[in-house]
């Protein structure tokens, strides 16, 4: 009886997932002059979500549930990192069984995804790494363990400024490095660690180049595409992601020469901050850009926070490199789950200036309390700097599309009017 219900749930979820993915991809492609190289990403996501949602070929796979988990270590242990954070409404509904109605859709969807796919992924997923960041991720440790997944709770401090917090996190990451060796059967060595850091650094270098191309006026790449590219980072195989992004960068460089920008010349330049938009939930970036604005930069953990910061080490001993990787994922972090998060305000202000931003879209997933709570202080800082902000509280369901698009259009019109007055 229970099994039958589970099988039915699995089937209907996969059907809904495929529909949802197809629709988002349709909307992504439905812009004039998308870069040809973007089709590599459209195809990847289409293949992944419209068939069976299967795991990558390269084994062993270590799933991670947060940008805080240092990928360098996973690469160094000879495993493939896979991001588990899900943006699918279909999975969210499957996860609703485990979590309260008002909790975070992202965590709900991730739990739902693992629940639905546990038979399919069971053995291939060697570990599910959950950094103890926000409360909801902390709590999912228990649900997922009960489901039978090999969960690894990576202990993270609630603050980052003090020496105590830094050493706590470093110790926790060092222990993770040791344990990873046991999980994958390949011990992390000096050489493999250096190569692991090199891999992530390569990604970060490509991301920074892309970042720079979005800064031009008018920008060369739309935010909805940039989001998809960074979403691909955790899901695609490392080399194919790098190859695809290199191709995209080359094409955008060419477009720069031919003066072929992505947005209209006077399109409002917006910054997106807040909860992470993860495919297929690209609702907000899509609505914003369909309304004629361009998201030129972002401060979200599925994009710039994930790839921007780069590790450096001095002497290159294993101990030092692991510590350096730990620092990279804690010290520059601007996640609102940390107390004293002034760095987030500084980062947003720096980005608004550097990218000549006209306005900010603050995206909060309903139930993602840390982001909802920081809305006020971010809004205050921005209004002091004379930059308008639109606060959107939404979830994965398509129900509020109409209401959202009205608000977004009004916001963009008001920015356009401001720009004309100037």
């Amino acid at each position: 009886m229970e099994n039958e219900r589970f099988a039915r749930l699995g089937k209907s979820t996969m059907r809904h997932l495929a529909m949802e993915a197809r629709e988002t991809l349709q909307r992504l492609a439905d812009f004039p002059d998308n870069p040809a190289a973007m089709s590599l990403f459209y195809q990847f996501f289409s293949a992944l979500f419209t068939g069976n949602h299967s795991l990558p070929e390269a084994k062993p796979i270590i799933g991670v549930m947060c940008a805080q988990a240092p990928l360098e270590l996973i690469h160094a242990a000879g495993a493939t990192p896979l991001r588990l954070c899900s943006g699918a409404y279909a999975y969210e509904q499957a996860g609703a069984e485990f979590m309260p109605a008002k909790s975070c859709p992202l965590v709900k969807a991730t739990v739902g995804m693992l629940h639905v796919n546990r038979a399919l992924w069971g053995d291939a997923l060697k570990s599910v790494v959950i950094p103890t960041t926000c409360d909801q991720k902390k709590k999912s440790v228990d649900f997922l363990t009960d489901m039978g997944f090999p969960v690894y709770a990576l202990e993270m401090p609630p603050a980052k400024e003090s020496d105590v917090a830094r050493f706590y996190w470093q110790e926790s990451v060092k222990q993770f490095a040791l344990d990873l060796g046991g999980i994958t059967g390949r011990k992390i060595t000096r050489q493999s660690m250096r190569a692991g850091i090199g891999k992530v650094q390569q990604g970060s270098w490509l991301f920074r180049k892309l970042h720079e191309l979005r800064r031009t006026d008018p920008p060369l790449l739309l935010g909805k595409d940039a989001m998809l590219v960074t979403n691909g980072w955790f899901l695609m195989e490392h080399d194919s992601w790098c190859a695809a992004v290199t191709q995209l960068i080359a094409e955008l460089e060419q477009r720069r020469k031919n003066a072929m920008p992505a947005g209209k010349r006077l399109a409002p330049r917006l910054l997106l901050t807040g909860s992470p938009p993860v495919f297929p939930n690209l609702k907000v970036p899509l609505l914003v850009e369909q309304a004629g604005a361009v998201i030129v930069t972002d401060e979200v953990c599925s994009s710039s926070r994930l790839l921007y910061d780069a590790v450096s080490y001095d002497e290159g001993t294993l101990d030092e490199m692991v510590g350096a990787v730990a620092d990279r994922s804690l010290k520059p972090c601007t996640c609102p789950c940390l107390t004293a998060n002034r760095d987030r305000l500084r980062k947003i202000m720096e980005l608004t200036e550097k990218f000549a931003v006209d306005g900010v879209v603050y995206h909060a997933l309903a139930g993602c309390l840390p982001y909802e709570m920081e809305q006020r202080q971010v809004g205050k800082a921005l209004s002091a700097a004379g930059i308008p902000m639109l606060y959107l509280e939404t979830d994965y369901s398509p129900e509020d599309l109409g209401q959202l698009s009205t608000r977004i259009e009004a916001f963009i019109e008001s920015i356009k009017a401001r720009k004309r007055r100037k």
Binding site: I197, G198, R208, D309, A310, S312, E315, D343
Partner: protein, 328 residues
């Protein structure tokens, strides 16, 4: 000009610094053979006890001058003292704390000991930041003593009897520069305890102990001795006016801590302070490893008289780190 600047910013500065230090070491330790003397008021430990030196450390002359009776300071001899101090300041302002990071033979020696440890694949030890702040007081105490003890020799302070002549140049007696640098010219005579008087015995025994601590300490902790260096304390009094500067644009800083981790003397302000413009703090020796480790475009900047010399760039950072990922 711009392409030159870009090329400079991509430099592996540590390698340049290694050769510069080597050159400075040769000049200051062996310069005497070529009759070179670049000055007697150098803001670096080019020890006077080393016969073949190419210039002299200011501290020895300074301690001698401090031993003058106060009355004489207001006569013609006072002009000599003032000129000495001004020459020292002049030298110092030119390079700022880079005297420590690029020139000082004792600093270079510590960096070589670090390299040896690195070759032996022994990891360095790290300490929490509060400890450093506590230790940084010691060098000011030493600076005060190296002024007050000679003064006590030349004058009767508060009616106390004058200190005896054996207290002459007290800091030199405990400085590892005196014992170690002459060794490079085959002079082992300083490596001994002087039993001619009780004062001398205590001072030279302390000197031997400090030498041992210097060698062992710098093997474990990068630039160990620099934390206690009274020359560094004297430097810092004038550092705000120096021509060579290390500045920071706080808005660009992500506080990732790369610079803090690279810092041999553990200055946390380099990573955490986003308001100060001047980053040369108390213990800083301007080795500029922080600039190399910074991935933010134009966040950390070295300038001379306001002209940019070297600054952190994205391209430079990724070039340097990319090479290391490939095992170079």
């Amino acid at each position: 000009m711009n392409s030159l600047r870009r090329a400079v910013n991509k430099l592996n500065l540590s390698r340049f610094r290694f050769y510069f230090q080597m050159g400075a070491f040769l000049l200051l330790v062996y310069g005497g053979y070529l009759a070179i003397n670049i000055g007697d008021q150098l803001p670096a430990f080019s020890c006077v006890f080393n016969e073949q030196r190419g210039g002299s450390c200011y501290l020895m002359g300074f301690q001698h001058q401090m031993a003058l009776p106060w009355k004489q300071l207001f006569t013609g001899r006072g002009i000599g003292v003032a000129i000495g101090l001004l020459t020292f300041i002049g030298f110092f302002l030119l390079l700022n704390k880079a005297w420590c990071g690029f020139v000082c033979p004792l600093g270079t020696l510590q960096d070589w000991i670090t390299m040896l440890r690195r070759k032996l694949r022994i990891r360095y030890s790290t300490y929490g930041e509060p400890l450093f702040r506590k230790l940084s007081v010691i060098k000011y105490v030493l600076l005060a003593l190296l002024i007050l003890i000679p003064m006590g020799m030349g004058n009767s302070v508060f009616g106390l009897p004058r200190l005896n002549e054996d207290f002459s140049v007290p800091f030199c007696m405990i400085c590892p520069g005196r014992t170690v640098l002459p060794l490079f010219n085959g002079d082992f005579s300083q490596l001994a305890i002087d039993f001619s008087s009780r004062t001398k015995m205590i001072l030279t025994a302390l000197g031997m102990a400090v030498t041992g601590i210097f060698l062992a300490g710098s093997f474990v902790k990068k630039r160990f001795f620099c934390l206690f260096c009274p020359m560094s304390a004297l430097h810092y009094l004038f550092a705000k006016a120096a021509l060579l500067r290390l500045g920071k644009d706080g808005a660009k800083c992500t506080r990732c801590g790369n610079c803090y981790r690279a810092c041999d003397v553990g200055l946390r302000s380099i990573a955490d302070d986003v308001t100060s413009k001047n980053m040369v703090k108390d213990d800083c020796m301007m080795c500029l490893k922080c600039v190399e480790a910074c991935p933010e475009e134009g966040c950390l900047k070295v300038s001379f008289l306001g002209l940019p010399v070297y600054e952190s760039t994205e391209a430079g950072f990724f070039k340097r780190m990319g090479k290391r990922a490939n095992g170079k």
